[in-house]
Amino acid sequence: MRNRFFSWILFLSGVVLLIFTLIAAYREMTPEWKKYQAQYKEQIIKTAKDNAVRQKAGALASEVQQIYLGALNKIDRCVSCHIGVENPMMDNAKLPLKQHSGDYLKNHPPDKFGCTVCHYGQGRATNKKEAHGIGHDTHWDFPVMPLKYIQSSCTQCHDYEMLGAKGYDTIAKGAKLFTEKGCRGCHKLNGIGGALGKKLDIVGSQPIAYFPMRFVEGERNTYNWHKQHFADPRVLVPESQMKISVKPEETDLLATYVLSLRSGEMPKDYRKIKGIMTVGKPDEGEALYKMFCIACHTDGKQSYFDEIFNRTIPAIVNKAFLKTADDKYIKKTVEEGRAGTQMTSWKTAAGGLAEGEINKLISYITKERPSAKPERFNIAGFKPDEKRGEELYKVRCALCHGKKGEGELGINLRNPVTQAADPEFLALTVRDGRTETPMPAFGKKGIGLTEKDIADVVSYVKTLSKKK
């Protein structure tokens, strides 16, 4: 048979086929976890005190170990490599055989909880790279969580007060910070909060693609994103209006808290929660102020022009303001908010504050109201001339309040609340101005605005919202 050419091809490819099949079989037979399980077995035999343990170790079969969690419909195979996680003899072994730190496994037995419920990572994987989910090519949204944020997983079953009491202070402090940085001024959580920022209900479970990762340094995952976003929001999201000033160590605490806001409910028999899972709503005025208003109004005493909002944020605890504004007007502003500006409406239908809470908030704000009543202006006594009012407005007020009253250094006058405000209050404000803020007292001698002028200006201001 001299058919040599094809015979050669047949022979050679047959050999290659055989070699690679064998190599593939070998690779299949020697996965990573086998190495660790062998080390584990050998270490037990070495350190075993009595023979019984040694026999048992000797009989240990080397195979994929997995925890099947029906209730959580998960399968965790981390214990294939981390085989010694429950074994006290392994407390000083090196990773991955090391025993789990602390006594967490006592009250969280792995066969009921598994590992990924707290540590994240890809439970189904049987090799280190894909199990930890590190690196873009693993295409896994929840890589193993750095230990400094691990307490964010506790709140799936426990509530913040209990965690704080038991010494888990990272998450407890993070939750407290969340209530004190005024985050809910812009972010809604459980239906309560402002509507400028994104809802935070399931932010902890959002995939990586949900966050713009362009400017993140280091590994591109949600943990780094949250930490660097708290450090400086505008580095990651250039057009963000987030107003936050946070010390470096606080970024980790807040990141832990934010990562604890997850979707999905743990099955009932896992949960040990007294109150609702998220931070409760405080009841006194000051705590409410800290939770909702502090981010923008800071202590409320100073009014300043904000370069992020491109608008002035009024001083709401300013004595001159409290002197002239009555509780009804302040309540209306808090409830309706100021349409067209970043001031959200806080009534139950929108921001979600109850009637009682708004009253407590206002009583806190108006605590330092000076007792002296301002001298009456009785605007009703004047016949307003809008034409002249417009004239005066153009020269004296447009400089700060804007041609159409949209507001820049001066506050926005077009919104429905100011338009519906009591003219007496407006006239008083123009006449007496606001000390400690840029608003001058136009009624003072020597500046030339007579009471009649003020009445005309006020009547014109009332027509501002109609001007297109």
Binding site: A195, G337, A339, S345, A350
Partner: protein, 158 residues
Amino acid sequence: MSNEAHEKAEISRRDFLGLASLGAAVISSLTVLTGVLRMFKPNVRYEESTKFKIGKAEDFPEGTVKKLDERGLFIFSKDDGLYAISAVCTHLGCIVNQTDWGFQCPCHGSRYNEHGKVIAGPAPRNLDWHEISKTVDGILEVDTAKSVPAGTKFKLYA
């Protein structure tokens, strides 16, 4: 009837029988076929309905834009009212991203201005606008099956 005519009639009668039986067979099998094909169109759709509630008017403060991710919809709230622009690209159905000049589709490069009008790329039509209406209990509702001409806005306080 003459003999030939008779034969012709006879033949045609036998042919007629053949034809009739053939016709019956074909028609019956066709109806079976259409019945079988009809089976492919389910009577109920295993998916969320196209009409859904988006929340209260207060959830959309003036001057803000909200993207309802799970519905592929942008809700704009301006001082003259609320309006909804679909985020589904009219070219091949990807979800567009919002940019400062309008919308950008990541799949084939279609671009729209901030009112959803096509300004570049293969998209054949503008982004759909959907009507926002208020249900009887005061909750805002959108129906993505019905698209309305661009510019229809829901007046908050008409």
